[in-house]
């Protein structure tokens, strides 16, 4: 294994600044940041805030690629500041800009509201024809590992917006639903517990829906979680076409199990230990 060098290298950060109260347009400000191997862009921003300019604003929370807050435009590509190492993408200069295709609130903080609105509009939750069943469940739904795999990949989305920033269709048309919400639509459509596909089709099949996607594939290249939105969207298109032609194979919906404690025990399984609390 190559040794890890501790020597710091000076990298010039070109950071987009924008103060909504005083600036008409964003501008670039440069900072020299000493960078050691392994340092992430997020750590670089902290260095700036601690030592060079305390007014810099950005959004982050988990610093481990889970919360989806720190999506940024790094050297012209969308990515998470917390899981991008500076020396992996820069040797002397690094541009750090807010995610494009969103409004800028301040400095590196984009307003992801438009994405969340679209996400909400496709009903990203299990829909059942019998609503009472959801509100007053009598048991749980059975799902095989194969059925789980048909949508599992699309559940890893952390709603960071990197795909929305990469999409060329969204760059020119703000009304397009975009890769993240449409991936969520496919995630629920493909879930055997869900019965809301036709309801979602009414939105995903419109002129602002999935057929605005031309498979430029940037979303999948940008996604830091390997969700592969482009795949989800093509599968969504396929399903829409089949539905439209009335050719869709009927997927067997989940069967419900009996409520907790009512299932049949397999033989040779020891009884559960006595509770130790309460």
């Amino acid at each position: 294994m190559p040794g890890i060098s501790n020597a710091a290298r000076l990298i010039t950060f070109h950071v987009t600044r924008y103060n909504p109260e005083t600036d008409g347009a964003p501008y670039l400000k440069t900072y020299a940041v000493p960078v050691r191997e392994g340092m992430t862009v997020l750590e670089g921003l902290h260095y700036i805030k601690d030592n060079l300019d305390s007014t810099l604003a950005w959004r982050y929370s988990c610093r481990m690629g889970i919360c989806g807050s720190c999506g940024m435009f790094l050297n012209g590509r969308p990515g998470l500041a917390c899981n991008t190492q500076i020396l992996h993408i820069a040797d002397a200069n690094l541009t750090v800009a807010p995610l494009p295709n969103f409004e800028i609130i301040r400095d590196l903080v984009p307003d992801l509201w438009t994405m969340f609105d679209k996400h909400r509009s496709i009903k990203p939750y299990i829909l059942r024809i019998n609503e009472a069943e959801i509100n007053d469940p009598a048991g749980e739904f059975y799902q095989s590992p194969q059925q789980l795999e048909s949508y599992l990949q699309f559940t890893y989305c952390i709603k960071c917006g990197c795909c929305m920033a990469a999409c060329p269709t969204l760059a020119t048309d703000a009304r397009y639903l975009g890769p993240m919400p449409l991936t969520a639509a496919q995630r629920y459509n493909a879930d055997t517990r869900d019965e809301g596909r036709r309801e979602r089709n009414a939105l995903t099949g419109t002129s602002t829906g999935v057929f605005r996607c031309h498979y430029a594939g940037e979303c999948s290249r940008a996604c830091p979680k390997g969700v592969d939105p482009a795949r989800a969207l093509q599968l969504l298109k396929r399903r829409l076409v089949l539905d439209y032609l009335h050719l869709a194979r009927r997927i067997k919906r989940c069967e419900k199990l009996h409520g907790p404690g009512q299932g049949k025990l397999l033989p040779d399984i020891a009884a559960a230990p006595k509770g130790t609390v309460g």
Partner: protein, 143 residues
């Protein structure tokens, strides 16, 4: 309170056309749109030129206006655009109907995406385009 502005950071045409560090499918997409619009423009031009004969103007007859080298070359460009558009279009039909993107998988680093699954198809279609261009070029030269 002072006024709070919002800056609309949508990339617009530049986000569609440029950006620089993109992948092969992105360029295929841009070229597909340009060639599609190009062929459409050619069709419109074609209708204008051929309808001129109603006025007794034959721009293509004998050693007419349209037989200058520049137009011969432009004709080849239209042919090339059509060859690319048709070959790439077949890939898009397959991909967008979900035939060449593979099944959902567990995302394990380094991520492999549907782009990797359909890449061989892209390569085949580009080779097919090149073959058409070569045949077309050869046919044009011996004419």
């Amino acid at each position: 309170m002072s006024q709070i502005n919002r800056y609309d950071n949508r990339l617009g045409i530049w986000g569609w056309l440029g950006g620089g560090r993109w992948g092969a499918e992105r360029y295929a997409y841009i070229l597909h749109r340009i060639t599609g619009l190009g062929i459409l423009f050619y069709f419109l031009l074609h209708i204008v030129v051929t309808s001129l004969r109603a006025k007794g103007i034959y721009l293509w007859a004998g050693h007419g206006f349209l037989h200058q080298p520049i137009f011969e070359f432009a004709e080849y460009v239209v042919f090339a655009a059509f060859a690319y558009h048709a070959c790439n279009g077949i890939r898009l039909v397959l991909v967008e109907l979900g035939f060449a993107v593979g099944k959902p998988i567990e995302p394990v680093y380094p991520y492999k995406t549907s782009l990797n699954v359909q890449r061989p198809l892209l390569v085949c279609m580009m080779i097919l385009t090149a073959v058409f261009l070569a045949i077309g070029g050869y046919a044009a030269l011996i004419e």
